[in-house]
């Protein structure tokens, strides 16, 4: 798979926002939301991005889509650099990368019928003409599992799961290569979540789609992803093959994250697990060093000296880990 050109590449993405918090107005600092994130996504595959709230995963999605301006870094779509393109130049490329958001309620215009929501982008980008757009719409609705009569309805007439199907249909309408899915199932009930996850998997298979799937539900991310990156405080701390990564996490944060997920298996009820102390956002007192060090059960003095780089794990070149003590026994 590594032989292919990646469909979407992120190179050293950086973005800082002005921090609020308790500081004095004049001493307002910048808070790095995304701090040097790089990854490649290969055709027909899903790259999953996991992490807790505030880790910067949604900002990564927005940076890739051009919805936030990069401070520095590069974004490539099939080898072509897109982050510096003028809006006019970017527009013809837009159909190739589409996005689905978590809140389907607010990402569909409440005053438009489904037929308008779906047909408008297609007509605008010239993907369908006015005589073919109806047929294409029926096809899309069928693909996402909605009856075609429903195109006459308004968004509020649908359930959350159905609305997410409409968002997926809208993303599909332009025949994209990549779809960025930002927490698409987080707001849904389990039974509906399973429907949407299966739908996304099937669509990927049928159309050879490439996904960036962002989520905090680790089970869901694992289910849909081929490769996964784990983020902590704006950085990737570990990435690798989905199954490998979850079976043998090398970074202590990944381990703790996996340990914290409640498992519906009675036999595992009293398993030994790492409980992290403290919360995200507490930086090492020294001001530099590994951002995870203050909460890390394995941290040593050297962890506080400098930020560990993301390096291939010894014996597993597909895996990268940013930890001085990566792979050591817990």
């Amino acid at each position: 798979m590594e032989r292919n050109t990646p469909v979407l590449s992120a190179r050293d993405l950086r973005k800082a926002f002005p921090s609020d918090g308790e500081r004095h107005l004049l001493r307002k600092g910048m808070h790095p939301a995304v701090d040097g994130v790089s990854f490649d996504i290969y055709p027909g595959q899903t790259f999953g991005l996991v992490g807790e709230s505030g880790c910067g995963k949604s900002t990564v999605a927005k940076l890739l889509m051009g919805l936030e301006k990069l401070d520095s870094g590069e974004v490539y779509l099939e080898g072509q650099r897109i982050d510096q393109l003028a809006p006019k130049k970017l527009r013809p490329l837009r159909p190739q990368f589409q996005m689905v958001f978590q809140d389907s309620g607010s990402s569909l215009n409440p005053r438009k019928r489904v037929m308008d929501i779906l047909s408008e982008p297609m007509l605008y980008h010239g993907v369908a003409k006015s005589d073919t757009v109806q047929a294409r719409m029926d096809e899309l609705l069928e693909q996402v599992g909605l009856p075609r009569e429903m195109k006459h309805r308004y968004p509020h007439e649908f359930s959350g799961g159905q609305r997410q199907r409409i968002c997926i249909a809208r993303a599909l309408s332009l025949r994209p290569k990549v779809i960025v899915l930002d927490e698409p199932v987080s707001a849904l009930d389990v039974s509906v979540q399973a429907q949407i996850l299966n739908l996304l998997r099937d669509l990927q298979e049928q159309m050879h789609l490439t996904y960036l799937f962002i989520g905090h539900g680790l089970g869901a991310v694992r289910y849909i992803s081929h490769r996964i990156g784990v983020m902590y405080m704006g950085r990737l701390v570990e990435s690798g093959d989905a199954e490998e990564l979850f079976a043998h996490p090398a970074h202590p944060y990944t381990r703790a994250l996996l340990d914290a997920v409640p498992v519906a298996d009675y036999a595992l009820r009293n398993r030994p697990r790492i409980t992290l102390v403290g919360e995200v956002g507490e930086l090492p007192a020294s001001g530099n060093g590994c951002p995870f060090a203050p909460r890390c059960p394995m941290a040593t003095a050297s962890c506080l000296e400098h930020v560990p780089e993301l390096k291939p794990l010894a014996g597993a070149p597909e895996r990268t880990v940013a930890c001085l003590r990566a792979g050591e026994q817990r």
């Binding site: 807790e52 009930d189 694992r222």
Partner: protein, 333 residues
């Protein structure tokens, strides 16, 4: 924790029917909900949104909004019916004997008062303490919930705290009067998993130390597995299954429970596993549905004669399904 069946239940909810008014019409949202919570037990009510679990929790302390009302049933707490008490009598139960923590931590604390202010006021009102004494007790309570610098937290306003900290404060306030029952309605849904784990371990520790019972309302079957002693599964306003956590996980009897268990993506599932997805959606209006409410989505029951009554599959294991036994084989569970 094993419970003794002989023991008096702390909370005994019987045939609870809750209806909501929309215009002039009353629509039933729960029907014949019943369960018991024993002293020191963690009972979990699990179900998807709209199943009636949260309104059930609210109705226990008569906290439903104006549209909602209990139209039938009893809520016996230590043998007294909370639903027929006067407001004054109920006030002595609320907060003192039964405390509650909610999912919306942001709305449960008053944004214009400091944490210390709110805690001291609660202690003075409920426990009749003096200001100084209340202050000391508040520090103690915050420490108990794992807050390392209670004095500095007390000076802060709710918005200055993280979600996890706010939930700890809420739990500390709930503990004010040593309640014998804590109702926790999705207490960790808004929190990250690592913080959720901290809070859940805290709740378990408090249960072990104080012997207070916990009624845990959640949608997360994983959380139920790790926390609960016993589980009630709700679907469309009814209890469809009740069992010990082990029974429920190892031999679920209701097709909905089984489907729910198989719809959850696990973190160690084999790669080629396909999630079971329940077709359709939870009905929005279900009071007039004849027969079994799950039948339209049930893998082997569209023509179900309908079981409105519950039956016992094993001691302590109740299920509302007419084909619980035969279905078990058909489903391969």
């Amino acid at each position: 924790m094993e419970r003794m069946d002989a023991a008096e239940p702390l909370l005994d909810v019987r045939h609870l029917d809750i209806a909501f008014a929309s215009g002039k019409k009353l629509t039933k949202r729960t029907e014949d909900v019943h369960f018991q919570v024993h002293p020191g037990e963690i009972l979990s009510i699990v179900g998807e949104s709209g199943c009636g679990k949260s309104i059930t929790a609210l109705s226990l302390l008569r906290l439903l909004n104006r549209q909602g009302r209990v139209v039938g049933g009893e809520v016996l707490f230590k043998g007294r019916d909370l639903l027929s008490m006067t407001e004054k009598e109920l006030d002595r139960v609320r907060g003192r004997e039964i405390a509650m923590v909610f999912q919306d931590i942001m709305y449960s604390l008053n944004p214009v008062f400091t944490i210390g202010n709110q805690m001291v006021e609660t202690l003075r009102r409920h426990m009749g303490m003096q200001r100084g004494q209340a202050r000391e007790r508040a520090v103690e309570l915050l420490e108990k919930t794992g807050i390392s610098q209670p004095r500095s937290v007390m000076k802060k306003y709710p918005h200055m705290l993280s979600g996890g900290m706010r939930q700890r404060v809420m739990i500390a306030m709930a503990l004010t009067c040593n309640p014998s029952l804590l109702i926790a309605d999705e207490p960790t849904t808004a929190l990250d998993v690592t913080i959720q784990l901290q809070i859940m371990q805290l709740l378990k520790k408090l249960r072990d130390e104080t012997g207070m019972a916990i009624l845990l309302i959640t949608h997360d079957i994983g959380l139920v597995t790790e926390m609960a002693d016993r589980v009630v599964v709700m679907y469309a306003g009814q209890c469809v299954e009740e069992a010990s956590t082990q029974q429920l996980l190892e031999s679920p009897a209701h097709p909905y429970t089984r489907a729910l268990l198989r719809a959850v993506p696990g973190i160690h599932d084999p790669k080629d596993r396909r999630l079971y997805s329940i077709p359709g959606a939870v009905p929005e209006e279900y009071q007039d549905l004849p027969g079994c409410r799950f039948a339209p989505r049930c893998p082997y029951g569209q023509d179900c004669p309908g079981a409105r009554e519950e039956s016992q599959v094993n001691p302590g294991h109740m299920v509302r399904c007419c084909r619980a036994q035969e279905g078990r084989e058909a489903y391969g569970a």
